[in-house]
């Protein structure tokens, strides 16, 4: 089947920064993404878990964004700006997509 090369960016970031990240992405012209919930994790700032949390302060989300390579730098700049202040990790994977016209 015919597929087309694209980039898959995954931004794991603390939930309270979601609005800021989305705004930065929109400013960079990117408004297609999917947000997955995160149960818990561990990093330099220790372990955490979403269990029983009432406040939205503790908790992370994973934002996945599939896009054409020529738009990658715009997204990474937007993401970096937010991730630099907030807790978060950004990774980029090569992928193939169906129906390239959508991206």
């Amino acid at each position: 089947m015919q597929t087309h090369p694209a980039k898959r960016v995954e931004i794991i970031i603390e939930a309270p920064a979601q609005r800021r990240l989305v705004r930065a992405m929109n400013d960079a012209g990117i408004d297609a993404y999917t947000i997955l919930p995160v149960l818990g994790g561990s990093g330099r700032s220790g372990r955490w878990s979403r269990d029983g949390q009432v406040s939205t302060a503790s908790g992370m989300i994973s934002v996945t964004c599939i896009l054409r390579s020529d738009r990658l730098d715009g997204l990474l700049n937007a993401a970096l700006e937010v991730v630099e202040r907030h807790i978060g990790v950004v990774s980029v994977t090569d992928c193939e997509v169906l129906r390239a016209e959508r991206f």
């Binding site: 603390e14 920064a17 269990d51 029983g52 009432v54 939205t56």
Partner: protein
């Protein structure tokens, strides 16, 4: 003195407090007992709705008077000023960075609604009541402390502009909107409204509170287990001193306003309590550089249990002594 101890003991042996203790113990023992996040959030929605509604209905019953307005203003001022006291105390007692200290200070200017409810329960078991508008005072005290903390930081940075929309985002925090909104609903629908939903928001309230405190104990215990090492002795001393300092500020305001014994005790409780829902969320947005483990552990792991167990009976004793109640 004996009276205080007896009351403190009675307070300690209540299902609510013991549920919190069970949660802490389970977390420290590394049990896998957890309350699902969605259930914990649902419990907190129930509590905020019930607290706000009942407060509004109480105001509807008593009407609005000058003292109500005065108390709201006093709450606003207390919330705005206490962060400066907390910040100064932190500078003396700890070597937290300016940012971390400001973030912690914001929590202690703001309030904990569950501590407030526990205070109401202690009042009730002592046969006292308080002005109905104390819930509105609690709502008013949620946010000003955040602004003070941000001002403390921006002054330090020489940059005193705030990101556009930030203040709005802080004020429209879900827990504030729900508390204020249900307060208004309670005030508008009054006793009829309360009657129509009393078997939901009054009768089972204490039981729901037990489950909520079980969850808070689990989260607090987990925080203590993983982050206690981040707190030096100085921070822990702060965590039990600041509530006492705050309660005295609350007492002063209550005496000026001429509140009842119960009202004075609740204003002390509000001033003594530290936020762990609205302010942590605001800090992640407004001061993301501050370390959340510090302020969460201090507020939920140290000050909350201190207030719940030792603080409340002390505040009641002082309020009684000072108001002659």
């Amino acid at each position: 003195m004996d009276g205080i101890l007896a009351l403190a003991a009675a307070n300690l042996i209540s299902p609510v407090i013991l549920s919190f203790a069970l949660g802490v113990a389970a977390a420290l023992a590394r049990s896998d007992l957890t309350v699902p996040e969605a259930a914990a959030k649902a419990l907190s929605i129930y509590l905020l709705f019930a607290i706000g509604f009942k407060g509004g209905a109480a105001v509807a019953a008593n009407g609005i008077d000058a003292r109500l307005v005065g108390t709201l203003i006093a709450g606003l001022i207390l919330s705005a000023l206490l962060p400066f006291v907390a910040f100064a105390l932190l500078k003396v007692l700890t070597n937290l960075s300016r940012t971390d200290a400001a973030a912690v200070a914001a929590h202690y200017g703001s309030i904990s609604i569950v501590t407030f409810v526990a205070g109401t329960t202690v009042l009730e078991s002592a046969g006292l009541t308080a002005e109905g508008y104390m819930v509105a005072t609690a709502a008013v005290m949620e946010a000003p402390a955040i602004l003070s903390a941000l001002w403390l930081i921006s002054r330090g940075n020489g940059d005193d502009e705030m990101e556009p929309g930030l203040w709005r985002e802080i004020l429209l925090n879900g827990s504030i909107v729900l508390l204020v909104g249900s307060f208004i609903i309670g005030a508008v629908t009054g006793q009829d409204g309360l009657d129509s939903i009393a078997s939901f928001i009054v009768a089972p309230f204490t039981g729901v509170l037990c489950l909520f405190l079980l969850d808070m104990g689990l989260v607090a215990g987990r925080g203590l287990r993983t982050s206690a090492r981040l707190l030096g002795a100085g921070a822990i001393v702060f965590g039990v001193t600041m509530p006492l300092v705050g309660s005295l500020a609350g007492l002063g305001a209550a005496l000026l306003l001429g509140l009842s014994t119960g009202g004075a005790m609740l204003l002390m409780t509000l001033s003594a309590s530290a936020s762990y829902i609205a302010v942590p969320a605001a800090m992640r947005v407004a001061l993301p550089e501050a370390n959340p483990s510090i302020y969460l552990t201090l507020s939920l792991g140290v000050t909350f249990p201190f207030n719940l167990t030792i603080g409340l009976p002390i505040y009641l004793a002082i309020a009684r002594f000072a108001t002659g109640g």
